[in-house]
């Protein structure tokens, strides 16, 4: 079978469902364009992307300064496109009756590297909680989720205690938390949505004073669920972006991202962001808007338009 074109996509496992859904829909109209979507994590994806092996890289965090450096030495230019939001759900077992909400500070107490081997009981986190052993479950260290969570809670990417159950496979975490009365875990909201019955969602207070917020479409999209909602991206190689079928694909992506994101359990970006992104794409605006900026709590519309 002769294809008109091939698009190689690789990278984040979080973005994967969305890209996959888009690719699937796109294929229905353009069966003659061959798209493959790999999963090698955000970092793994960038590595290939920056070697020029892939056309598009999925990323659940913005490109890092080190990666930018490589892109420059390799002469790879890219266009950054945010595609959706992902809220991170904090979950406990349904058997856990004592947790009503949790503050960011408490999360930090639980997860900071300093707590390693020391904070082993719920009581140590909040006095009113019982002396139940605290078992933590979280994303694998090579995922964008992990990077984002550590940055959002502990203030520094990849800074986390190591003595918890880390899995790249979120179902494993679902299973773990659901059966563990002392368990607490975090992972993408999509996984919670699919496993509501097995898990108990915990609202997060940004500070002791603010109100406890449950993650959902509106709280995430409107930046109320802070700091645990993050944008997700795709990066398009500039050379590839010049090919018409890639342009076709990106156009399709941005047109359908909103509905498909919802379908796969993510939160769509505001429509304006999609439009803006498409504009930036057609113009070929390269580079990252997050260079030297923290992503936590960032307002995409502002950032993107500022660049303009």
């Amino acid at each position: 079978k002769a294809y008109k074109g091939k698009i190689n996509i690789d990278g984040s496992s979080s973005v994967y469902p969305l890209t996959e859904a888009v690719a699937e829909e796109f294929r229905k109209q353009h069966a003659d364009i061959r798209i493959s979507v790999g999963i090698s994590g955000t970092g793994g994806g960038f590595k290939k992307f920056l070697r020029g092996e892939t056309d598009i890289s999925n990323a659940s965090r913005p490109i890092s300064p080190e990666e930018l450096k490589i892109s420059r030495t390799n002469g790879i230019e890219f266009i950054e496109i945010p595609v959706c939001y992902d809220g991170m759900a904090i979950v406990v077992s349904p058997k856990n009756t004592f947790v009503d909400y949790i503050t960011v500070a408490e999360l930090k107490r639980m997860w900071s590297p300093q707590s390693q081997g020391k904070i082993n009981s719920w009581k140590q986190v909040r006095d009113s909680w019982p002396d139940v052993p605290l078992n933590l479950y979280g994303a694998g260290t090579s995922s964008g989720t992990y990077d984002y969570f550590t940055e959002a809670i502990n203030g520094k990417a990849k800074a986390s205690r190591g003595d918890y159950t880390a899995s790249e496979d979120d179902n494993v975490l679902v299973q773990g938390v659901s059966s563990d009365i002392g368990g607490l875990g975090y992972f993408g909201l999509a996984y919670f949505t699919e496993n509501k019955a097995k898990l108990k969602l915990v609202p997060v207070k940004y500070s002791t004073e603010s109100e406890a917020v449950f993650p959902n479409d509106s709280t995430v999209q409107h930046g109320k669920y802070q700091p645990l909602s993050r944008p997700e991206f795709i990066y398009v190689n500039l050379k590839s972006a010049k090919k018409t079928y890639v342009q076709e694909f990106i156009k399709f992506y941005l047109e359908h991202a909103s509905s498909l994101a919802q379908e796969v359990g993510y939160v769509p970006l505001p429509q304006a962001v999609y439009r803006l992104s498409h504009l930036r794409f057609t113009r070929g605006s390269t580079g990252s808007v997050f260079e030297n900026k923290s992503i936590v709590g960032a307002n995409l519309l502002q950032l993107l338009s500022k660049q303009e």
Partner: protein
């Protein structure tokens, strides 16, 4: 002096029999539970479209077409690569270098390789084929990795099969003036063909089920097309299953179960063929 046994031999015998039957029963029960568990979960999804559909985000629409194609392609190349090398080295070790140092050294190597965990092969494949040779995440990388993985199995079973050919046949052949290679090709190989074939099939069925090394070489991907050459990307059934099981939607668990049924069928058919051939050939060439 009539020291009695602690438990009389007769009851010893009975007790053991009960215990052993229990063990056997439990293990078989486990198998049954496993199969039923999977069967119940997956059978609803087994239909024609499951085999012809491309992967999809909708579990009901998602099929194993590409995974199956990828698996067949992968196995094809694996076997193409591993077979001649495996069989030839099996022959060499058993027929030629029986006593020389090189053969001894190779033999130790092979017996070691047979026990090396498959992840380690994954690492080897990743470094050697994916990265150093630059084959990337292609069928070739996967096939080479799997080929190395099953080669020891092929070599060992080839040797076993050849070893089962009595020396008397070789002597008969030499006695008739045949050269070494003539003896190997016309007498030893035909006589051990059944055994070799069985070994190949069993090793292939092992290759089918391997997941870990493929994950390590990076085969986890959405590949909605049938690979057309060794350098194409691919996905394979166990990878697809693994992929599905890590999806949040329940529907994919059903898909995974259905995929497992297919995978099991594949392995059973291969194993069954191997058992059948083994019996048939034993009957025919029992010497």
């Amino acid at each position: 002096m009539n020291r009695k046994h602690l438990i009389s031999p007769k009851s010893q015998d009975k007790l053991f029999k009960i215990f052993a039957a229990l063990c056997t029963g439990l293990v078989l029960l486990t198998l049954l539970v496993l199969l039923i568990d999977i069967g119940i979960k997956g059978i609803q999804r087994i239909n024609w479209s499951f085999f012809t559909n491309l992967p999809s985000r909708h579990p009901e629409e998602s099929g194993i077409y590409t995974a199956l194609a990828g698996m067949v392609g992968l196995l094809f190349f694996t076997v193409i690569i591993a077979l001649p090398i495996g069989i030839l080295s099996g022959i060499y070790l058993q027929e030629y270098g029986k006593r020389n140092k090189l053969a001894k050294f190779i033999e130790i190597n092979i017996s070691n390789l047979a026990g090396v965990p498959s992840v380690i092969y994954g690492i080897l494949g990743l470094q050697l084929f994916v990265r150093t040779a630059g084959f990337g995440n292609s069928i070739l990388s996967g096939a080479l990795t799997l080929a190395l993985l099953i080669m020891p199995v092929i070599i060992v079973s080839t040797r076993e099969a050849i070893k089962a050919v009595p020396d008397s046949l070789r002597e008969a052949s030499f006695g008739l003036g045949a050269t070494k290679w003539q003896t190997v090709r016309r007498v030893v190989l035909p006589a051990s063909f059944g055994g070799i074939l069985t070994g190949i099939i069993l090793s292939t069925s092992r290759a089918i089920g391997e997941t870990a090394p493929l994950i390590v070489v990076g085969a986890l991907a959405y590949v909605p097309f049938v690979p057309e050459g060794p350098m194409d990307q691919y996905t394979s059934l166990p990878i697809q299953i693994f992929n599905w099981t890590s999806r949040p939607q329940q529907g994919f668990v059903v898909n995974a179960a259905a995929g497992i049924i297919v995978l099991l069928l594949f392995t059973f058919i291969l194993n069954g063929t191997a058992i059948y051939l083994r019996n048939r050939w034993y009957k025919k060439t029992a010497i």
